[in-house]
Every structure is written in structure tokens, then in C-alpha cells.
Amino acid sequence: MVGASAAAALAAAPNGARADVNPAGTDRPVMAKVSLTVNGQRRDLDLDTRTSLLDAAREHLHLTGSKKGCDHGQCGACTMIVDGRRINSCLTLAVMHQGSEITTIEGLGQPENLHPMQAAFIKHDGYQCGYCTPGQICSGVAVLAEIKAGIPSHVTADLDGPMEATPSEIRERMSGNICRCGAYSNIVEAMTEVAGKQA
């Protein structure tokens, strides 16, 4: 990015005030219709095309369970399960998901009807402040499915052998979900219990 001065160039990070003007920014927003299936329900939205899938859920559908920790794909708090795969919903635009099947934390279970992973997180205290928790749980559910499907990870020693939800597989695959409260040890226990029950 080219700035008008050294100071302006320094400020080229998204939050720094830039000295150069982007005339395109004054354009009317481009709107687009998109239909998503969210937690089993069809949702039709008319969105500014710049809207991330995360903001579509949080700000337009008022499904605020998916969290915005960084908006940069660095923390995993926004993890959703989209067409069977977990993704960082802050790194994808809602309009790229026409027709997608999306599961958010709200779709996994509700306070009086918990998903086994949610119940295991409570039992093992796999959280503290709770802000990364929906992302951890969505990731956790998807990770066990990945292992079941035989998708290898960096720590998988035998690509052809049977794959198991070992602590090292869980830790490796969950490392895109940061928990600053430091509940990792408990999260691994919660996931191990659920994996054992599934097996």
C-alpha cells in the first residue's frame, strides 16, 4: 500500500487512518440475494456483498453464538460447519455460500437439549470465559468426524492405518482454535470422552 507520507504508510494496517483516498469506497454497496440453510432452516438474505458469513449470522440472523475474536482467521472462535466441513466463517463471504448447509453452535444443541460435545465440555470444564467455546465445540465435532472419515493430519503416523482420536491427533487438529483462558487440557478430555462414546 502506498501512503502519502512515511507516517501514513505505517498506518496502512486496517485500523490506521490512511492518507490516500480510495474513490471506490464512495460507491453504493453492491447487494446480492443469497439463500442459506442454517441449522436446517432456509434463510433468504439480501446482503451487502462484503458481508462475511460470520456477520451474516451474527448481525443479520441474530445467531450470535459464533464469535468474532479476530475477524482474520487467526483464532477459530467463528468456526461453523459448512457443507460438512469446519471453516472460519470470518474468512468467507456469505454470498459465496448460496445453497450451503450451515451448522452453527445453535444448531448443535440448545441449553435444555445439549449435543454430547456440549455436555462433555460442561462436565470437563472445557471452557472458562466462554467466548472461544462455540468455535471449540464446532471444531471438536468436526474433528471427530474428520478422524472417523480417515482424513490425516500432520501428526498422523500411518496414513493407511486405522485413525484414532488420540490426544495428539486432537491437539494437532484443534490448534486453530485458541483458548486464551487455557482450557486446552480439559477440552482434550471432553473430546476424548465423546470420541470414546462414539467409537
Binding site: 507516517a7 501514513a8 505505517l10 498506518a11 494496517a13 486496517p14 485500523n15 490506521g16 487512518a17 490512511r18 492518507a19 483516498v21 480510495n22 469506497g25 464512495t26 460507491d27 453504493r28 456477520d55 448481525e59 450470535t64 453464538g65 459464533s66 464469535k67 475474536g69 475477524d71 482474520h72 487467526q74 483464532c75 453452535i105 445453535e106 444443541g109 440448545q110 441449553p111 445439549l114 455436555a119 460442561i122 470444564d125 471452557y127 472458562q128 470465559c129 466462554g130 467466548y131 472461544c132 490426544p167 491437539r171 494437532e172 484443534m174 490448534s175 486453530g176 485458541i178 483458548c179 486464551r180 483462558c181 487455557g182 482450557a183 486446552y184 487440557s185 480439559n186 477440552i187 482434550v188
Partner: protein, 739 residues
């Protein structure tokens, strides 16, 4: 209720509910995404607009001019508030830097504008159209360079550690000169960021001259007063609400720019506005744990008795900021007749340094406990034995003051036994496990126990449900649950008959969450209110309150047993009280203790460090809920591991900012970095602390653990790194030959 004599037997001692490893009562909300955090309160007020904050692109100087014309024309824009149009606003409690207003820039990414639009995307796009003309000024950004001119200053972390610029006992220099064995080394710790997962966020809505802020704040009463002061309006016109806080670690103790700008933006836009600091803004806009340069000198006899100990620390901060109180624990942790502690402060123009989890002790013990390891080796003593030899049961600076309860030795011996410390090879670099060089390290943990006045209101209704209201916050600490356990124990009801409402400034003022004072203080406040409620119930039922027993949802006296709810049949009964602490904490030193044991593997070729095992043994009074308390401790162990191995805000010493200001550049521990962690709590009570007989445990876990990791790395490799974090580049050149 005044607490000025040691607690005797009271209903908490029944331990029917308190002391049990109960699942969190807020767990079902947090795990289903239904716990509402600040930015998510769609339900509280209609018509919310979006504010996007701009940060300054220079570290020091002035804003000469801001051109907002294009931004104001941009689609959806409702209002823009700039720092040039706003007179410099008052600072809130403990703010060193100004949050907004005026043309002076004190640090990089200081807020200079908020752009309000109908949507987040529009606000963000318009913010990029604001052009700023700066007059930069030269600043001081390099702690190592400024340390020479640093002056001794008193300081207080505001969280239980602090002191004078220099404190002395006996004749340190003389004793050190005469000591048969001496040790003298200098260490550095890095600037660190709280990096809590929930960004600072606020929704503000005005109703006439009254404003409500749904925000994310650890200390509601402080924030309440601060916002009134900053906005220049009476306190009764401000309301704060923070029922859920997505982590704070000290970063949300004080009011930050999100709250101030949301209030200003909402006023300017004439409608509610929500503002979250974007992740890349947080690390320079808000506060951080300041880097330190620390020197430790220890003199001892040949048998390992410390005769002289000195700990000096230099840190930097903005002109109105405090020093990092890194020497505090050294006044209390070990015996020694001749002592010196000193804090120096250099002026830096980096973002504001302020409290982060265990301010003072976290970086202080990182250094002191490595120095103790080094000294033990010099003495030819086992590090556990060296610490035990220098235990003290009194405040070494004031020997007439005993510790209220101190079992550091118990932590050390039990930890050594459980961890298999006897198997450690004291000679470093000798243990191999395949590609791994394996080492064990240990350190003592120490953190003072603060007690703060704390209030609560309890209400009993006709169904026998007890509702607790207090402005206490739950920042992940488990406050909801331990408060419910306290009320259930006191009123003799099951946990599901207790409702806990937190974080609203309309509720009685509590201790808030910080400095590991929250759990003990706030539950003691609930205890006090419940004592009053029990009296009201007894009176309503015509029972002598001294004879009344509250159990199983009933009130019993003699052979009479009445359902508790009956006392409220004619209308709810409400009681409110605070716990106020007398001078017990002055007469006796209240502290918490622990011992950390860590095993690491260091790759013999690449120097990659993997933590393999961790154990903490803690002595912290009564543990109110062993499940959530354990989580607090392992969380501290995790953050401390980060400090030892990876966490470092990289200072651009030319431009004066933290360059790695997001969660990819600023590395924190992830799942793969942390092994299974074990925690053991010693079974103890401390009647000097409160009627709960509990002490803080939320910060004990981070205290010393980094040193245990560093000592394990030394034991594995024989390489002593004194500049933290220990990244592999600091090991590579000196690794033992991979045979």
C-alpha cells in the same frame, strides 16, 4: 458486615454445596452460544448502528488535520466523531493514556475517530476514506536504551503488589560482599498482551441525558464512576451492564476507548451505536504487560542459607504510568536477613503498560525462580531443598507479622513426590528420549491474597427461590457458580433454587474481578447478605434466628420445620449487605502458595521445545469449587507457558509500536503446545481471609510456572537463557552435539 476477627464456625463449614466440584451453572449457555456478550445484545435496544474506530498512525506527535468530507458522503454514514472536534476527555480510573479528544497523540493506534454507519461494512469502508495529516514527534521506544536514565519510583499494580522505589532490610551490600557464595545475573522479560478472546466492545444508547452501556468490563463500579467522569455527567445517569465477559486478564479492568467512543458516537448519531475494537487495534490501542530488565543478586552460606537477596527491576511506561511491580514477591517469598528491592521506571512512548494477570509476580517470579534454580546449582543443592531451607513463616521485612497460613513447604514436598522429581538428573543435558533432550524444572508460586469490600442483594420468593444480585463479574472465573454455591449453602437450598444475576451497575457494588480478589471477596459479600436474609426469614417465621437451621429447603427450629418459601408467602424478602474487611490483612500477611513442576523435551536438532508434563500444587485456603478453581490454575499455567516460550510484543523501536499486533503475529499457546495438566489443592482453610476461609487462586497458576518451564529447558539442554521468551533461536547455537 464487618470482618475484623478471624472466622469461627459458620454455615459455610457444612460444605454441602460449597467446596464441591460443581459444573458451572452458566455452562449450558456458554456451550450453546446463548450467553450474551456485549456486542451481541440485539435484544436490549432497537435500531443499533455500527461504529468503526480509527487508530493513530504515529506513536507520538499531533494530529494537524483530518479530512472527513469523503467519509461523510459515503453510503450509510450517520456520523463521524473525530478527536480534533472533541476536547481532550478526562481519564478514567487507572488510565495513564488519554482515551480520546484533542490533537496530541501519546501512543500508536490511540483512537482518533469513530465512523458510524448503518452497517459494519459501510462504517469500515467509510473509515478508510478519512485522511489524516500528522505532525510526528520523536519518541522514546527502546527500554534497553532508556533504562540507564530510569529513576526509582514507588508503584502499585492496583492488584495487590507494590511498594516503594527502594526498600531495604539490614545491609544488603555488606552481607552480599561477605557471603561465601554469591550470584548476580540480569534477565529480561518481554512486553506481553492479554489477548483475551472477546475484543473490547460496547453498545451505547442514550435516553435523554442518561446513557446505558452494554459492555465488557471486569470492574463495574470502577467503570461506572470512570465513565461518568469521562463523559462529564452524574453517575446516576450512567448504567453499565456486563453479564458475560469474554476474558479480561486485566485488560478490561479499566474503561477503554470502545466504551467512550460508543457513548460519543451514539450521541452524535442520535441512536444506539455498537463498537468493537478490531483485533489489530487492540494490542496498541489498549494496555499491555510492560517488558522488564531485572537483576537478581543472592548471597548464601555454603549450606544454602540465604544471607543477602536483592531484586531490582526496570520497566518503561508513559509519563503517568506505573512501574511493573516485578520485585514484590521477593520481599515475602524467602528468608534472608539482608534485603534490597527496587523498581525503576523509564519514560517510554509505547502504548500504556498496565495490569495483566498477576502484574508484578508473573514477570518477577519468571526471573526470581530461575535465579533460585541457578543459585541452587551453584550451591550443589536440589532446587526443592534450597527453597525449603529458606522458607519463612513471617514477613521478612517485618518479622512481627506472621503469615496467616503458609504451606509452601507442603506444596514443594508433595509436588516433588507426585511428579517423580527424585528421578531428575541434576546434571543438565543428560537425559534423552529418542530425538528429544528431556529435562525437569520446578519453581515456587506465590501471590498475595487481597480482600476488597463487596456487596450483594439476596431475595427470597414464595417458591423458595433465592436470587442473588451483585455487580460482580464472571470473566471465566466461575463467579456465577461459586456465588450460587454460597447462597445455596447459606439458605439451605439446592443449587437449582438459586438464580445469580451479575455485572449490572444497578446492583450492589462488589469487589469486581481482578488481582485474584474476586472469588473470596464477592462470595463473602453474598455470605453477609445471606446472614441478613436468614435473620429476616427467622423474624418473619417467628423463630429465633440463632436457633434456626436452614437445610433441605426448610427452616427448622426445635421440632418445627417450615418450607423456606413460606417465609416469603406474604411477599418477597430482600436483604442487602456488604462484607467490609478490617485490619486482619495488615496484622498478618495473607498470601497464596504453590509449586510448579514441568517436564519438557527439546528437539536435539531443531531446538523445538515441547512441554510434556505439568503439575501445580496450590495452597490457597478453602477451594470453593475445585473444578472451576482447577481451570483457573491450568489457565494460568498455560498463559505462563506462553510467557516462557513464545509471547513477545515485538517493538518497532524506530516507529514506536508493537509490530505483531494480531493473533497470528503475537503467538499464544494453542492446543498443540499444552499437555495434560495436573493440579493438586492442599486441603486447608484460612480463617483470617473471610467467613469463606478462602483465598484467591485465579492468578497463582501463572506465578512461577514460566520459570519452571525455563528451568526444565536448562535441565534438558544445559543452556541457560535469560532473555524471555525462550524461542528456539536462543538455543540453536549452543545445543549439545546430537550424537
Amino acid at each position: 458486615m464487618k470482618f475484623d476477627t478471624p472466622a469461627g464456625r459458620n454455615p459455610i463449614d457444612q460444605l454441602k454445596v460449597v467446596g464441591k466440584p460443581t459444573d458451572r451453572i452458566d455452562g449450558k449457555y456458554k456451550t450453546t452460544g446463548t450467553a450474551p456478550y456485549a456486542y451481541e445484545r440485539h435484544d436490549v435496544v432497537a435500531n443499533q448502528a455500527y461504529g468503526y474506530v480509527l487508530g493513530a498512525g504515529i506513536a507520538k506527535g499531533r494530529v494537524r488535520r483530518m479530512d472527513t468530507a469523503a467519509a461523510r458522503q459515503a453510503p450509510g454514514v450517520l456520523a463521524i466523531v473525530t478527536t480534533l472536534e472533541t476536547p481532550r476527555m478526562e481519564r478514567g480510573m487507572m488510565n495513564a493514556a488519554y482515551l480520546f479528544g484533542g490533537d496530541e497523540i501519546q501512543h500508536y493506534h490511540q483512537a482518533i475517530a469513530v465512523v458510524v454507519a448503518e452497517t459494519f461494512e459501510q462504517a469500515r469502508a467509510a473509515a478508510f476514506l478519512v485522511t489524516v495529516d500528522y505532525a510526528p514527534a520523536a519518541g522514546k521506544f527502546d527500554l534497553a536504551a532508556e533504562a540507564k536514565g530510569a529513576k526509582p519510583v514507588p508503584g502499585d499494580s492496583g492488584e495487590g503488589s507494590g511498594g516503594n522505589g527502594e526498600e531495604r532490610v539490614g545491609d544488603f551490600e555488606g552481607a552480599f560482599a561477605q557471603a561465601p557464595l554469591t550470584f548476580d545475573e540480569t534477565y529480561t522479560t518481554a512486553d506481553e498482551s492479554h489477548a483475551m478472546m472477546e475484543p473490547h466492545a460496547t453498545i451505547a444508547a442514550w435516553d435523554g441525558d442518561k446513557v446505558t452501556l452494554w459492555t465488557s468490563n471486569q470492574m463495574i463500579a470502577w467503570g461506572h464512576g470512570s465513565l461518568a467522569k469521562i463523559l462529564g455527567i452524574p453517575k446516576e445517569n450512567v448504567r453499565l451492564d456486563s453479564p458475560y465477559v469474554g476474558g479480561g486478564f486485566g485488560g478490561k479492568l479499566f474503561v477503554r476507548a470502545d466504551a467512550v467512543l460508543a457513548a460519543l458516537a451514539a450521541k452524535a448519531a442520535g441512536r444506539p451505536v455498537k463498537v468493537a475494537l478490531t483485533r489489530p487495534l487492540i494490542m496498541n490501542n489498549t494496555t499491555h504487560r510492560p517488558a522488564t530488565i531485572q537483576r537478581v543478586r543472592i548471597g548464601a552460606t555454603k549450606d544454602g542459607t540465604i544471607t543477602a537477596i536483592a531484586h531490582e527491576s526496570t520497566s518503561g511506561n508513559l509519563p503517568d504510568g506505573d512501574p511493573e511491580t516485578a520485585v514484590n514477591q521477593t520481599k515475602l517469598l524467602y528468608a534472608g536477613a539482608n534485603r534490597l528491592t527496587a523498581m525503576k521506571l523509564a519514560h517510554l512512548d509505547l502504548p500504556e503498560g498496565n495490569a495483566m494477570r498477576a502484574p508484578g509476580e508473573a514477570p518477577g517470579l519468571m526471573v526470581l525462580e530461575v535465579a533460585m534454580d541457578e543459585m541452587a546449582e551453584k550451591l550443589g543443592l536440589d532446587p526443592v531443598a534450597f527453597r525449603i531451607r529458606n522458607d519463612t513463616q513471617v514477613d521478612p521485612q517485618a518479622p512481627e507479622r506472621p503469615f496467616s497460613h503458609r504451606d509452601l513447604v507442603g506444596c514443594l514436598t508433595l509436588g516433588a513426590e507426585r511428579f517423580g522429581w527424585a528421578k531428575r538428573n541434576a546434571k543438565p543435558g543428560r537425559v534423552r528420549d529418542g530425538q528429544w533432550l528431556v529435562g525437569m524444572g520446578m519453581a515456587a508460586a506465590f501471590r498475595n491474597n487481597m480482600v476488597l469490600k463487596s456487596g450483594a442483594r439476596v431475595r427470597l420468593d414464595g417458591t423458595g427461590t433465592v436470587t442473588v444480585e451483585t455487580d460482580m463479574t464472571d470473566i471465566g472465573t466461575g463467579s456465577y457458580t461459586i456465588i450460587a454455591q454460597t447462597a445455596a449453602e447459606m439458605m439451605g437450598v439446592p443449587l437449582d433454587k438459586v438464580v445469580v444475576r451479575l455485572g449490572d451497575s444497578a446492583f450492589p457494588v462488589s469487589s469486581g474481578s481482578g488481582g485474584q480478589f474476586g472469588a473470596n471477596s464477592s462470595t463473602a459479600g453474598v455470605y453477609a447478605a445471606c446472614v441478613k436474609l436468614r435473620e429476616a426469614v427467622a423474624q418473619r417465621l417467628g423463630i429465633n434466628s440463632a436457633d434456626a437451621e436452614f437445610a433441605d429447603g426448610q427452616v427448622r427450629a426445635g421440632n418445627r420445620a417450615v418450607p423456606l418459601g413460606e417465609a416469603a408467602a406474604g411477599g418477597a424478602l430482600t436483604a442487602e449487605d456488604s462484607i467490609e474487611f478490617g485490619d486482619l490483612s495488615k496484622k498478618q500477611q495473607q498470601s497464596t502458595f504453590g509449586a510448579h513442576f514441568v517436564e519438557v523435551g527439546v528437539d536435539a536438532d531443531t531446538a523445538e521445545i515441547r512441554v510434556r508434563r505439568m503439575l501445580a500444587v496450590c495452597a490457597a485456603g478453602r477451594i470453593l469449587n475445585p473444578k472451576s478453581a482447577r481451570s483457573q490454575v491450568i489457565g494460568g499455567m498455560t498463559m505462563g507457558t506462553g510467557a516462557a516460550l513464545m509471547e513477545e510484543l515485538a517493538v518497532d523501536t524506530r516507529r514506536g509500536f508493537f509490530a505483531n499486533h494480531d493473533l497470528a503475529g503475537y503467538e499464544v499457546p494453542v492446543h498443540a503446545d499444552i499437555p495434560h495438566q495436573e493440579v493438586i489443592f492442599l486441603d486447608e482453610v484460612d480463617p483470617m481471609s473471610s467467613p469463606m476461609k478462602a483465598k484467591g487462586v485465579g492468578e497463582l497458576g501463572i506465578c512461577g510456572v514460566g520459570a519452571a518451564v525455563a528451568n526444565a529447558v536448562y535441565n534438558a539442554t544445559g543452556i541457560r537463557v535469560r532473555n524471555y521468551p525462550i524461542t528456539l533461536d536462543k538455543l540453536l547455537d549452543d545445543l549439545p552435539d546430537a550424537a
